[in-house]
C-alpha cells in the first residue's frame, strides 16, 4: 500500500472532524475521496501530509510512518491544495521553478522539469504572466503545475476543480489520468460525484469524518437497491396509472410530478419495455423518456438520507 491510514481521529474542541477514519491507497490507482463540504476530506489530507496534528491513529506512506520532518517521504509527494497557493510576485515560470526547486537540488533538472510541467498544463504561452493576469481555470492549472513539477510518486489533489470552467476542468481531469498513466498514484478529493466517477478507480465516500462506503464505482452502486431510474413526460398521468405501474416486477417507486412520471426500479432486463407496453396498451400518450443508471449521489443518498451537495 502507498498510503495506509488507520483509526485517524481529529477533534477541534468538541467537533469531531475525523472519526476513526481508515483508508488504504494501493500503488497506481486513482483513489477518490468523495464527500460533501465539511465531511472531513481536507482535514484528512492535511493530516496525511502532517500539516495538521491529529489526536489518534497512524499514517504510513510508502510503508514508512509519516511525520512533519519525514523529508524522505515528502520529496516523493506532490500536493495541490484546494486554494491556489502561488506567489503573486512571481511569474508562472518562476512559481513552478521555485516549488520544484524545493524538491530537486540539480539546477539543470529543475529547469527541465519546470518546462515539462508548464507544457503538461498547457501554460506555455502564459509562462511570463503574473498570476493576477490569469483566469480562474489557468490559475488552477498553474497550481497543479507547482504541485507536480518534481514528478512525485504520490500526488494528492484536494478539490482542484472548484470554481473552474468546464474546459479547464476537462483539461485538469485528463491531466490527472495522464499522470496516473505515467505511474503516479493519485488521491483525489472532491464533492463532485461526476468527476470522481469519471476518473477514480477506487472510491471512499466520507461523511462526518467517517468512511461510509468504499470500493470501485460499480461495487458502490451495487450496494444500493436502486438499479434504474426512468423519467417519462406525459400529460395523461393519473393516480390509477401510478398504482398499476407500482405493481410491475422490479418497480419499487412511482411518482407523478409536474407531468413527469418518475419510476425507480431494481435491476432488470426489460423494465423500460414493460412500462412502454403498458402506456401503449392504455393509449397514454408520452413525450421524452430518460433512463438513468444510479449515480454516486444515489449511493450517498441511500446511505445517509441526504444529497451529496446538501
Amino acid at each position: 500500500m502507498i498510503v495506509k491510514v488507520k483509526g485517524l481521529v481529529k477533534r477541534y474542541d468538541k467537533l469531531v472532524a475525523l472519526d476513526y477514519l481508515d483508508l488504504e491507497v494501493a500503488e497506481g490507482e486513482i483513489f477518490g475521496l468523495l464527500g460533501p463540504n465539511g465531511s472531513g476530506k481536507t482535514t484528512a489530507i492535511n493530516c496525511i501530509l502532517s500539516l495538521l496534528k491529529y489526536d489518534k491513529g497512524s499514517i504510513e506512506i510508502f510503508g514508512k510512518p509519516m511525520s512533519a520532518d519525514a523529508y524522505d517521504i515528502k520529496k516523493d509527494i506532490g500536493v495541490i491544495m484546494q486554494n491556489v497557493a502561488v506567489f503573486e510576485a512571481l511569474t508562472v515560470y518562476e512559481n513552478v521553478h521555485y516549488f520544484c526547486s524545493l524538491y530537486i537540488k540539480d539546477k539543470a533538472k529543475v529547469k527541465e522539469l519546470t518546462e515539462e510541467a508548464i507544457r503538461f498544463v498547457s501554460l506555455e504561452e502564459y509562462r511570463n504572466f503574473y498570476p493576477k493576469k490569469l483566469s480562474g481555470g489557468l490559475l488552477r492549472r498553474l497550481n497543479i503545475a507547482c504541485g507536480i513539477a518534481h514528478k512525485p510518486k504520490l500526488i494528492i489533489l484536494d478539490e482542484p476543480t472548484v470554481a473552474v470552467d468546464p474546459q479547464s476542468r476537462n483539461k485538469i481531469l485528463e491531466g490527472i489520468k495522464r499522470l496516473n498513466q505515467e505511474g503516479a498514484t493519485i488521491i483525489y478529493t472532491s464533492h463532485y460525484m461526476e468527476e470522481v466517477e469519471q476518473i477514480c478507480t477506487n472510491i471512499a465516500i466520507i461523511d462526518k469524518g467517517r468512511v461510509i462506503a468504499k470500493g470501485t464505482k460499480d461495487e458502490l452502486k451495487s450496494m444500493i437497491s436502486i438499479g434504474e431510474k426512468i423519467t417519462i413526460e406525459t400529460y395523461q398521468g393519473n393516480e390509477n396509472m401510478v398504482n398499476e405501474l407500482k405493481a410491475f416486477p422490479n418497480v419499487f417507486s412511482v411518482e407523478l410530478r409536474d407531468n413527469r412520471l418518475e419510476i425507480k426500479s431494481n435491476r432488470g432486463k426489460n423494465n423500460l419495455v414493460h412500462i412502454l407496453d403498458y402506456l401503449n396498451k392504455n393509449q397514454i400518450s408520452f413525450g421524452r423518456i430518460v433512463t438513468e443508471l444510479p449515480t454516486l449521489n444515489d449511493v450517498f443518498l441511500e446511505i445517509t438520507g441526504k444529497e451529496l451537495r446538501d
Binding site: 492535511n46 515528502k74 518562476e94 526547486s101
Partner: protein
C-alpha cells in the same frame, strides 16, 4: 537557498516604492547639504543676528545701556509677546534668540545678587553663541566695574563698558582646523541621520512586510510545509535575507551621507552615528517583521508604512528638533524607539570630544532601542506561534 533567492525576487516588486522614498530622501539631503554649506561659509563673519527681547523689568538706565550695547551685534525683531508666536518665530528662523529680562533683574544685579537672564534659541546654531558671548561680556564687565568702583553711576558704567568692548578682534577663517570643521560636520550628520530614520521606517516596513506577507499566506505556508524543507531552514533564510537587505540599505546611506557631507569627514562621531543607525535599523526590521506577520493586505501595509513612518518622525524629532516639541509630545514619543534614536543622534552632535565619559551618554538610548527590538521580536514569535497553532 531557494527561499533566500525568492525573497529578493518578491522584493523587486516593491522596489519602486522604496526608490520613491529613497529619491525623496536624497532630495532632502541635497537641501540639507546646501544649507550646511551656506552656514559654513557664513560662520565666522560678523553679522547682526535677529533676536527678540522680552523686557519684563521695565525701562531703566542699566537695561537701556545694555540694549544699546547689544544693538551692535543684533537686530531687534518686534514680535508680539505671545508664547506660540515666539515659538513659531524661532521655528521659522525669524529670530535666532529670544532673550527675556525678568522683572527685578536690574535691582538684583545692582545689589550684587546672583541674577539670570532667560533665553530660548535655535539649537546648535552658531549665531546664538555670539549673542551669549556678547551678553556675558557686558554683564561680566559691569560686575567687575561695580565691584571695584561701586560709586560709578549707571551712565558712567555704560560708557566704560562700551569703550572696553569696542575693541574688535579680527577672526581669520582657518579651514585646516579640524575642530571647526568637525562641528559643521556634526550638524550635517545629525540632520542627515535623524531624517534617515524616517526613510528607514518607511522603506523597511514597505519592503520587509510585503515579502513576509507573501510568505505568511496560509496556503503558501502549507505548500512550503508539505515540501521536504524544514520550517527552520525557511526562517533562517528569511532572517538572513532581511539582514542582507537592511544592512546593505543602511551601508548605501552611509556612503551617500559621506558623499553629500560638505566636509567629507569620517571620525569617531561618524562611527557613533553609524552604530546608532544600525541599532535603529534592527528595531525597524523587528517592527516590519511584526507587521508582516500580522497584517493581511498589501494596502494595509502601505497605509501603515506611511502613517507609522510619518507619525513617529514627527513626534520623535526626526523632522522637527526635539527642542521645539511640547513636553506631552516628547513624553509620548519616549515610548517609541524613534525618540531614542533621535536622542542618541542629538547627544552625539553635542559631544565636544569623544571621551569615554561622553560616549557613555549614548548607552542608554542605544540600550532602550535594543530593548524595543527584543520586545517586538518576542511578541512576533508569540504571534507567529499562535498563528501556526490556529492554522493547524
Amino acid at each position: 537557498m531557494q527561499v533566500f533567492k525568492l525573497y529578493f525576487k518578491i522584493f523587486k516588486q516593491n522596489l519602486f516604492s522604496i526608490l520613491v522614498y529613497t529619491g525623496l530622501f536624497v532630495g532632502i539631503l541635497v537641501m540639507i547639504s546646501l544649507n550646511i554649506r551656506r552656514e559654513e561659509e557664513k560662520k565666522f563673519t560678523s553679522k547682526e543676528i535677529p533676536i527678540l527681547v522680552v523686557n519684563e523689568d521695565g525701562n531703566n538706565n542699566l537695561i537701556e545701556g545694555f540694549l544699546n550695547y547689544l544693538d551692535a551685534y543684533v537686530t531687534y525683531v518686534p514680535i508680539e509677546n505671545d508664547e506660540e508666536k515666539r515659538k513659531d518665530a524661532l521655528f521659522y528662523n525669524e529670530v535666532y534668540y529670544i532673550l527675556t529680562i525678568p522683572a527685578g533683574f536690574s535691582e538684583a544685579f545692582l545689589s550684587g545678587n546672583e541674577v539670570e537672564l532667560r533665553k530660548e534659541c535655535i539649537p546648535n546654531a552658531a549665531e546664538t553663541v555670539f549673542v551669549d558671548t556678547a551678553i556675558n561680556d557686558y554683564f561680566n564687565m559691569a560686575k567687575v566695574y561695580r565691584k571695584h568702583m561701586p560709586n560709578l553711576s549707571i551712565e558712567e558704567l555704560n560708557f566704560y563698558i562700551e569703550n572696553n568692548l569696542d575693541v574688535e578682534t579680527s577672526v581669520a577663517f582657518n579651514d585646516n582646523g579640524s575642530k571647526n570643521v568637525h562641528k559643521g560636520s556634526d550638524n550635517y550628520y545629525m540632520t542627515y541621520f535623524n531624517t534617515l530614520g524616517y526613510i528607514l521606517l518607511a522603506c523597511f516596513v514597505t519592503g520587509v512586510s510585503h515579502v513576509l506577507l507573501a510568505f505568511n499566506q496560509l496556503d503558501i505556508r502549507r505548500r512550503n510545509s508539505a515540501a521536504p524543507i524544514s520550517n527552520r531552514s525557511i526562517n533562517i533564510q528569511l532572517i538572513l535575507a532581511n539582514l542582507v537587505f537592511v544592512l546593505s540599505y543602511v551601508v548605501v546611506f552611509f556612503v551617500i551621507g559621506y558623499l553629500f557631507n560638505p566636509n567629507k569627514v569620517i571620525g569617531m562621531g561618524t562611527y557613533l552615528y553609524w552604530l546608532n543607525t544600525i541599532v535603529f535599523a534592527l528595531v525597524t526590521l523587528s517592527i516590519s517583521y511584526i507587521i508582516g506577520i500580522t497584517v493581511t493586505s498589501k494596502n494595509a501595509i502601505h497605509a501603515i508604512a506611511t502613517a507609522l513612518s510619518l507619525g513617529l518622525a514627527f513626534i520623535s524629532g526626526m523632522f522637527v528638533p526635539q527642542e521645539f516639541l511640547g513636553k506631552a509630545v516628547l513624553r509620548l514619543a519616549s515610548f517609541t524607539p524613534a525618540y531614542w534614536f533621535v536622542k542618541a543622534n542629538d547627544t552625539i552632535a553635542l559631544m565636544s570630544n569623544y571621551s569615554w565619559e561622553n560616549i557613555r551618554q549614548i548607552y542608554l538610548p542605544l540600550g532602550i532601542q535594543l530593548g524595543f527590538a527584543a520586545a517586538i521580536i518576542s511578541m512576533s514569535l508569540v504571534i507567529s506561534k499562535r498563528k501556526s497553532q490556529q492554522a493547524s
